[in-house]
Symmetry: C2
Subunit: 141 residues, 2 copies
């Protein structure tokens, strides 16, 4: 299995609500329509899928359980500390639940966490030890 991650699918309760958040709110690009039943958003390097949680559970043959701490954080690394604050102002205006207002971290960076409408967790972080390439991807030291 090559070290490749191509798509992340987030199980959602209400596709219209998720579209409103990701497409209309964050203005992330998609050609998918609500009536497709699944939404694919093109991120810089990966595809983000939105699909009813019930269907994802069924497809994976897992028991569906109510959203809780998923044990997974999706992260968005920025090129500056200021950008972190700007993003939190943006997602706050979109009604995201902020679990951690950005603060200085023990590893020398600056980060906060918010939840999308289905409580999927995003970290927005500035890490002075990591470089960001022209595509917005992290270059590990």
């Amino acid at each position: 299995m090559r070290p490749t991650l191509t798509l992340i699918t987030l199980g959602v309760a209400d596709l219209a609500r998720s579209l409103k958040f990701y497409r209309d709110g964050l203005q992330w690009e998609t050609k998918s329509k609500l009536e497709d039943g699944v939404i694919f958003l093109k991120l810089n390097n990966i595809v983000l899928g939105l699909w009813p949680r019930e269907e994802l559970a069924k497809d994976a043959k897992m028991q569906n359980t109510p959203p809780a701490f998923s044990g997974i954080a999706l992260a968005h690394n920025t090129k500056s500390k200021e950008e972190v604050d700007q993003i939190f102002a943006e997602v706050n205006a979109l009604g995201a639940i902020i679990t951690k207002t950005p603060e200085n971290t023990f590893w020398g960076g600056y980060s906060g966490y918010f939840q999308d409408p289905d409580r999927h967790l995003w970290e927005v972080a500035w890490n002075p030890h990591w470089k960001i390439d022209s595509q917005g991807s992290v270059i590990l030291p």
Copy 2:
């Protein structure tokens, strides 16, 4: 917030066990060491982080709950149907729990799901409607 996902952190119960699965088993590259307390693996286009679940919950100011259906699937798209079967043989030999043996899907592809040692869900799929670029990323139609 630009449409960028730079890092995915998986909360794990036992870093050594996760290292064994991802680094020694799947042979995914990392310069991190167990004693670092966090592991970063360089995937084709994104960084995969492994961090104790307890610490991730604390960092995000979330209540830690036992692993269950996370509502998130990480997907690995292949260039052929055969590759899906090869990967399932590989992860099966590594002791992964297979929740769905690969089968033909309603959307015309071929896919299955397995869980890593912390029950994080991976889908391995061949989708004849999607092209894969030279980096292994999906090109959306």
